[in-house]
Symmetry: D4
Subunit: 161 residues, 8 copies
């Protein structure tokens, strides 16, 4: 499986929140694109981008947005690949609750796989898990990561005594 993951966000000001997704995918050798695609400021480009998903060999979309966050839901409307939504607690957001509800409360037939507020790291883990359904190699890396986390808990356990 060599499909890419597209990491898109509504504005370059969202990049600090979305960066961990990029870093995680890179660390797992999963190819990705990293782009600004604004539903509200560049709707034509969003449509165009969605139409090019197949040709770009994109298998999963991670979309981050804040406030009245429409990018993840519109991507889910425009394509059939899984769309992972990252609610961003941006400066124009109400504690991120507006972003969360705007992303998760999608109508029938158009789901967005929503993760925690500002959870772009987890969006990338989820993308890796989805790719791992068809890739034993990625699955192995994810299992290793889980094992590492268990060990980290043990070390933390000693450090707090």
């Amino acid at each position: 499986m060599n499909k890419k993951v597209a990491i898109i966000m509504g504005s370059s000001s969202d990049a600090p929140v979305m960066n961990p997704a990029k870093e995680l995918l890179a660390s797992l050798d999963i190819p990705y694109e990293y782009m600004v695609v604004s539903a509200h400021r560049s709707p034509d480009w969003m449509y165009e981008f969605a139409a090019s998903i197949e040709e770009r060999n994109i298998g999963i979309v991670i979309a981050g947005a804040g406030g009245a966050a429409h990018l993840p839901g519109m991507m889910a409307a425009l394509t059939t690949v899984p769309v992972i939504g990252v609610p961003i607690n941006s400066s124009n957001s109400i504690s991120g609750i507006d972003s969360l509800l705007s992303i998760v409360q999608m109508p029938n037939d158009v789901p967005v796989a929503t993760v925690a507020v500002n959870g772009s790291h987890n969006a990338a883990i989820l993308a890796a898990q989805i790719l791992a359904v068809g890739s034993p190699e990625i699955e192995k890396k994810l299992k290793q990561r889980k094992a590492d986390n268990r060990e980290k808990v043990e070390r933390q356990n000693q450090s707090i005594q």
Copy 2:
């Protein structure tokens, strides 16, 4: 001024909530279109509809939607006419708060004029007020309506004694 108002909604199941907008405009002799345009189920048709606004002679859009309500915001992204958003407390909504936040918390340069939850009647009043900026005739009707409301208060006042 003979621009029309477009009343659009995400699903025919929203019609009972959006109907008062239609009735109000009709009562003021303001021409309108009344249509289902789903951002999530018919994004191409939404795009096409937005592109035809000028040609349809539409001056204002009233858009109602529930849950992760993206229709008003996407219309605001795709056109420069004023867009009035009606948050709908539909069956898949959390008391209408999700719809309200999804509609009102728009980013810079792409406003949606948001009214109360299920407030399609007021969306139509607002549309009439906007048209009245250039139409003394509509303004006169709105002033009459305000006067009628004052009288209704007087009558209510007597009825509760």
Copy 3:
């Protein structure tokens, strides 16, 4: 169309939040008034101001207020011109949610066109859109602005690579 826009706010301490509205209107050569009109501390002046709207040649009111925000709703009660409400997340506000609900949840026949919390910039865009219904010149400027925003997205897209 040479109607003015009134930008009013409950206190001079709201000026930093309301300033972007002033700047936007100035940049579009739309004439405006910029004033403190407090519903709670100067109700007489509010009534007087509302009564003078026609004579002042004001076509649209932008009203910002925080906490139990009554200024936008009272302006909508006292006049038939479109009133745009800006919920302000002031120091005595609960994350701006109190301001938002106090402004948007208006009863039948008295709508306030509500924008995002602290969204005075968007209030001015909305005012321009309303004036553009009767002004091809303003409409042209708004279309240009939309085109500029699309280009900004392209530039942002390159900067984050």
Copy 4:
């Protein structure tokens, strides 16, 4: 002290919620007026009513309203008598939270004494407590009421065994 209490509400549809206030005052022989005064539909009448408070010999105002509830706060702006606000969970309200925040979050110098959602009975008790500051007779009745409540608890205690 023979000042009256004014019980006012935004609409005759609020009467079922405000009725307990009327009944309580009647049971304590406190004179009252009971009226519809809408901040949004009859702002002139509200202004006029506020101006007549002294002449009507009104010492306290109880004001009930729902949604973007502006009546209690505007009464507090227009008069110096104590204003008691009753947030109403009306059909156009979001669980009464919008009404509550619209009433309680008043700015400096313009307080509204807010009671529980739909708590018109308690608004009347509070009015009686305020009048009792200068009336030993009312104070005695309130003390009797407190004693009766204690006895009611004892009886309830026996009934649930």
Copy 5:
């Protein structure tokens, strides 16, 4: 009328929030007591204090508390004088919403006159309004204050031009 106002709070750490109440009453020459009375840490003292209200010549209680704020409600249970509650957004509070709901949502017959979060200044204004029902002198001062506020708006209006 020479009744005193008691300003009480759950902890000395609440003093910075409650101080404005003290200053306002002092500025109006209304006598007051200023005390820590904790419902949770000193319930005996709270009962004792409530029982001494008559003897202390206290006519109104202002009670501030944060989090699970029980002091205002318990004072209302233990006495028949009007109790004004100030929800405090203390360090252990959830944006003050917990304090607000703990104070305002009182059951029948035991009202607390609730003001805005951290609104101790307004609690004192309300106390003055209550005393003014029987004191033309205080009423005059409150009317003067209202007039001063109107002038302040005028000055603010000039300063922001």
Copy 6:
């Protein structure tokens, strides 16, 4: 260990919600008292009841209340036995959130062990768990209950196939 559990509630109207606690304790042969003790309507009786806890041989208090729910917290203030609080979604409550926050957000040194909204059954389980710290017999019954629940899951599993 033969200490009793006191199940108290603010009003007899809370009995339907608190009944499951009684039934659970009865089924585990744990002795209990079942009483109305209102913090707001019978503060003296509440105080008296708290003072008699030792003499009544009460080891744990389960207290249910709705709205501005003060009974659990005041019991925690007046005694050192563990107090379990049951937030009740009563008719005068806002979805039970007001009751929950009024009970759980207690200040330092005065905890209330809070369970889910309307969770009186779980309050009784928790009381049994507390007694089981010193009673192998009750512990055995609780372990049996856990085993029964596991079996119930198995049976449910078959029924839905």
Copy 7:
């Protein structure tokens, strides 16, 4: 790709909400298991079930739960396959908001792909989209479904005229 989807829920009382997921998968000829697995009542069985996922040839888990909903998150902790969480607005839930937050706000490295409250239908669509990453056949069916939805909008459009 012939991996199965496991649809699990905390209780048989959740079956009416989870049924649409079953029906959707059946309609797409995607094999599934449908089971009660309670994190709280059958933690051993949950653990055992998670350990058997590979052997059962399960590629995706859909987990529905209400209130303090731990099942989806614990499944994500115990396995590396994608876990889709369905927040259930059960009788012991606060409008489903508690379920939603308990499921979506997962810590780093342990994501749950969360869908709308009661959105089991969409959980199944999302599962199909994930499987479609490696299955052109399922992808084709999903594209057909999207096309059907567009047509449905057209028909709705005619019906409301």
Copy 8:
């Protein structure tokens, strides 16, 4: 009674919030364990830890966690000793409300004794109260603490004059 209290938390980053529990138990000479046990990163270790509770002579578990906080509820599922839950307002939490609801809204038969957000001090007090049911010595210390608190109120009372 010489049972120990286990203080566990989801991550070493929670230690600053959980530390007060440790200090309080130490000050009361109550033996404790202090450990990181993550439900999400170390589920095996959590199961193992739960299985060892009897052998470790643990009588009460205090569990702190933030966001989608599952540790307290899973401990309650895996053992019959009382579990006290501390909602942590961690960096990935929404004001602690997500943590609170994830911990308190437990289903029937699996209670978690929930304390205030970040209330680890109170969790330890509650643990001491539970142990005091069978230990007159601890009860005496708790009564002394209550007396000390009363005196502190008196001293605070003098300091604010």
